[in-house]
Symmetry: D3
Subunit: 209 residues, 6 copies
């Protein structure tokens, strides 16, 4: 049972490199060259740098093409930051539960950190990554995550009875849209990230632990 | 074997309503009220009306919120219509193969029509809807659809070996991004459409048959 | 959003061949030579030709062996055309919903056409092919298709509670047999068709649109 | 480790009824009344009684309708007993491997007995029921069962490459048809049997042990 | 329908070897050499030989290392033979239902024999192997096997509502532990057995038929 | 993109309780009372307390019955700590990859911490939890985890070809046993933990970050 004790003690062989060693420089497996940033993008990247201390790698991955990057940022910021009946934490919880179903390394890392921070509870972030069913959730949260997960795993089977369950848990028509839109968005992002082996900024791992 | 003969002959009972009877008016199950269109949106809707004869229901579904609609249109038009190493037909084939894996009624109908039209072959559209593996495809097309389908069905298992297969079939790094981005986008749209019971414009069914 | 407009316009490269180009001549991937038709088969094929304008390819596929063809026709005609508590349309709806779960190109094409014709509604046929859960169905139809689909997808889990649901929806013991028998039959046919790459007669695609 | 020793010793409570107690009288959960047998059926049932000592319950289950019974018998006897490049044992091995994938109690029991008898090896029957991959098979047998199982479990994914593997293992075009037809047939029978809770004759359990 | 008649009649080719021919000598695919038995193990093996007539192959498989063998025996005997609210038969039914879900040849054979013996009903053993849902079970037994099977097939989805169903069927907290522990144990054993191609002693096949 | 900034700022509503608030006191959902510790167990618990600062909850969960606890500890310590061709880190990597496939909160938390510590790389632990396929692994590690994962997810399909792949990557017969045994053990533990809602000690979350 001494599994986490003085682990390194007897190690003679050279330490392996950290898994995150290149994650801030080799951002995807595609090697697409960044385009010249538009004024808006340049400003936005400066703001990220100021606020977060880094530019999220997903933005750098899209930066080979300004139109694609701007479309992504517009949709992302509207979905995750604009006013909604869902709190920012709830939206991040959906993001992580969906990414867990799809096992997306990038999104689990970046948005797991967001849940830890917004929830002011590192363990809540872990639970969203590992299995949201093991978390102590409100009825509202659980219903929302069950819907997002079913929509991720067997979308063809989602229908009126599922919407009715959301309504009964207090969600409005607009809330249902937002749950679907956030779950949908991460079903997109998970796939773009995995398809390109997108690596999360190394800073995420330490955030809000 | 006379399964499609004079079917209606002996029918006494009142005909059932067409499945598409309300699809041009009851666009989703959520009943969200359209917002006042921005100038850009109003112009875009007029252009759709002129070119297609109707405004695609997905746009009307997003029209309860101009920011969401504009973000969706910007991303959609960039992905499906902007210059790319993938032809427009190839992008639509991905759209339909992904929507088939997810069994999305809206997207199969709207983009199935697009494949019929762009491919100048109604049967190609049917095959993308039913099972792309039964189609007579070029090696390039088949490799592309296999990647998009794996990314849809088991995204966690996509890795370097899958990208290598694409490269070997002649796809560039940018092409791989575009395949992933289109497959990702329809994994989003399929889920927003199914979650809201979005109905396709009835006109799609007759297009390019 | 102009996805189905003047698609062919700028095409310089030679048009690809229609997917159905060979479907009326190269019927399976096995190349089995037709046997000399029995009198009964010869008469039946003439009748098909008269009524449908063609002999369904599935019959031509079985025609390498008269005993096999006659057994297939006897079972098919009894199941789909003989008196039953299920209407012919209902039986065809089961055929297509099962074939959709199994993604069988031949059966989706041939029986999708039958649903369009018997239902006097092209869109009903599309819905059975794409996702029957998105159709506007009576309780009876939905219960019947849910049973047929569960029996197709996880047959080991079908039991008394599923039969009870059918009975509650008004189905008799004999009706339950017929639902099971039709669903079972297409689980057979789907597999024979896919295993041999059976191609549907090209005429089906245009029927009852 | 004494798991199969003097098991009954200390049992005071009344013995439970044998699982097969009613299996020779309550044949399905539907309770359909037998129709008057046609002359051909009456003769066939007498022959079964003489040769096997009983009429297989599947025949009694179909006996509510002579047309259905005769069609079933014609197809069954052609497939399983008529000349074929596949031996009778091979056809029964396919029957059981398919029924194992579908977990069909009736077919596993009746055709498991057939494999034990035809293979002159009780353990071969057990292996087909439990997991054919654990059996010591010839390359030919293994290839045949892999094809039948894939066709059962993910029919949509079967294509030319799978047929090529069969051909490489020495199977002719006609053999491929027969493998597909037998696998297809049991995918039908498994579902009819499970949907109606068809019980196997109790005699099967003791045969060829 | 004469499938189990005089099967061997026309066979000219040399009989194939029994599937179990080597199962008492070649116990796994790994060929690990037995270690010198500890005194406790030697005594235990003698007891097995006396009571069962053989040493179960699983014990011989672990016998390359006394510590591993003793740990396995201690856990096995406690779980399957020590006092519990579950009868020995119930524990063996769980063992076989779990092994059926995992299709483990070794455990289905050895513990299928145990169910036949303890249940004093060969058919009960067959049913646990083939599909426990087809057996005539008490509510208590069915609830227990449903839980064990869900825990095997989708462990991530087991939660309070599943425990509540067990409690409602009369199981105590300790009973729930025991169901979970037995189901868990065979999820381990099934995998060790399959990973090493462990063969069951040939004697099991004939026991309690 | 400011997802992890000053999250708590505008929060008026009372903070939610930490997810781990009760995890050190309410260890399972079963509420089984600890038995009087045997001398060996009492000594072992003291050793845990000294070395780790706490007694792992899994041990406290088994402590309602000394025989069960001792059997568990004996097997666990042999598997994870005794000499083996697999390093302790490799064994822990298997533990976490298996637990990730099964989505077990307890084991992912406790053994994720072990991988972080033994690997001297927090990110390696995260990757084992999230998706080992995204990690930078040696051929040996990857082959080992692929085997363990296949054995977890589709045990019935593991066979000689899979063992051959391990051998080719340099694993001995004994190593193969150890990989199977560790993977098997966590397939057991995952299920006992999930079935009882076992909670990990809160200390694990902060270890080796």
């Amino acid at each position: 049972m001494e599994k986490s004790g003085k682990a390194g003690k007897s190690k003679a062989k050279p330490a392996r490199r950290s898994q995150a060693a290149d994650d801030d420089t080799v951002i995807t497996a595609l090697g697409l060259k960044p385009a010249a940033p538009s004024a808006a993008v340049a400003a936005y990247f400066r703001k990220c740098q100021e606020k977060l201390g880094f530019v999220p790698n997903v933005l750098q991955a899209y930066a080979f093409d300004m139109a694609k990057l701007e479309a992504f940022v517009a949709m992302y910021n509207d979905l995750m930051l604009a006013p909604s009946g869902l709190s920012k934490l709830e939206r991040e919880m959906i993001a992580v539960a969906v990414s867990s179903a799809n096992r997306c390394y990038y999104c689990l890392t970046a948005h797991g950190a967001a849940v830890r921070a917004l929830g002011e509870d590192p363990v809540l972030g872990e639970l969203m990554v590992m299995n949201y069913r093991a978390a102590h959730l409100t009825k509202r949260e659980r219903t929302m995550l069950d819907f997002a997960t079913k929509l991720t795993v067997e979308p063809w089977a989602v229908e009126e009875t599922d919407r009715a369950t959301l309504r009964k848990a207090g969600f409005s028509a607009r809330d249902i849209w937002d749950i679907a839109a956030v779950a949908g968005f991460f079903n997109m992002s998970n796939r773009v990230a995995t398809a390109t082996d997108m690596r999360p900024n190394s800073a995420y791992h330490r955030q809000a632990r």
